[in-house]
């Protein structure tokens, strides 16, 4: 659906393209802020279980760093695979479409 939609929009006047770009930009900002929040929540949940001190100790810090790095690598890999599948669905007809 989005593809046809965006196709249609190519023919729309400049001000609509501008509006569309603003919208996409806004969604991207929101998405990266959400991703940040989710990453913090996940690494905190997995790494922090001791509340006898108010500061992170070395071990907790290491755990959080690794968690965040692993998450970013994971997220990038998923992004690549996801893009391949999206592309496949867009070009091949024998693959059942996702919509």
């Amino acid at each position: 659906m989005d593809k046809n939609m965006l196709g249609d929009l190519d023919n729309l006047p400049e001000e609509d393209k501008l509006r569309m770009n603003t919208m996409i930009e806004q969604l991207q900002i929101r998405d990266s802020l959400r991703m940040y929040n989710n990453l913090v929540e996940r690494c905190f949940t997995d790494c922090i279980d001791n509340f006898r001190r108010k500061n992170l100790d070395k071990q907790e810090e290491t755990c959080v760093r690794r968690c965040a790095e692993k998450w970013l690598k994971h997220s990038m890999r998923v992004g690549l695979r996801f893009a391949e599948l999206n592309q496949g669905a867009a070009t091949q007809d024998e693959v059942p479409s996702s919509k």
């Binding site: 659906m1 989005d2 959400r34 996940r42 994971h74 890999r77």
Partner: protein, 84 residues
């Protein structure tokens, strides 16, 4: 959010933008759920190192593939009887 006068035409264009927006939100949400689900299924969470090892990497690839297939399968079911 604000407009002095809304014509039917205007609402129509707003609807198109609104639908495009919802569609994109949906794709972002799908990607995020897929990412979180596959992280939980595939990545060792005691974080002994900061690299993904080979087992984790191939698990991730298959997880993405299967998630995609489940999305299509469920989409077909919904198309047949309901809300999508």
């Amino acid at each position: 959010m604000a407009a002095n006068r809304i014509t039917p035409q205007q609402v129509n264009r707003d609807q198109i933008f609104g639908m495009a927006e919802k569609e994109m939100e949906y794709r972002v949400e799908m990607f995020n759920k897929l990412t979180q689900t596959c992280f939980a299924k595939c990545v060792e969470n005691r974080y002994k190192e900061s690299e993904l090892n080979m087992g984790e990497n191939s698990c991730i690839d298959r997880c993405v593939s299967k998630y995609w297939q489940v999305t299509n399968l469920v989409g077909q079911l919904l198309g047949n009887q309901g809300p999508m």
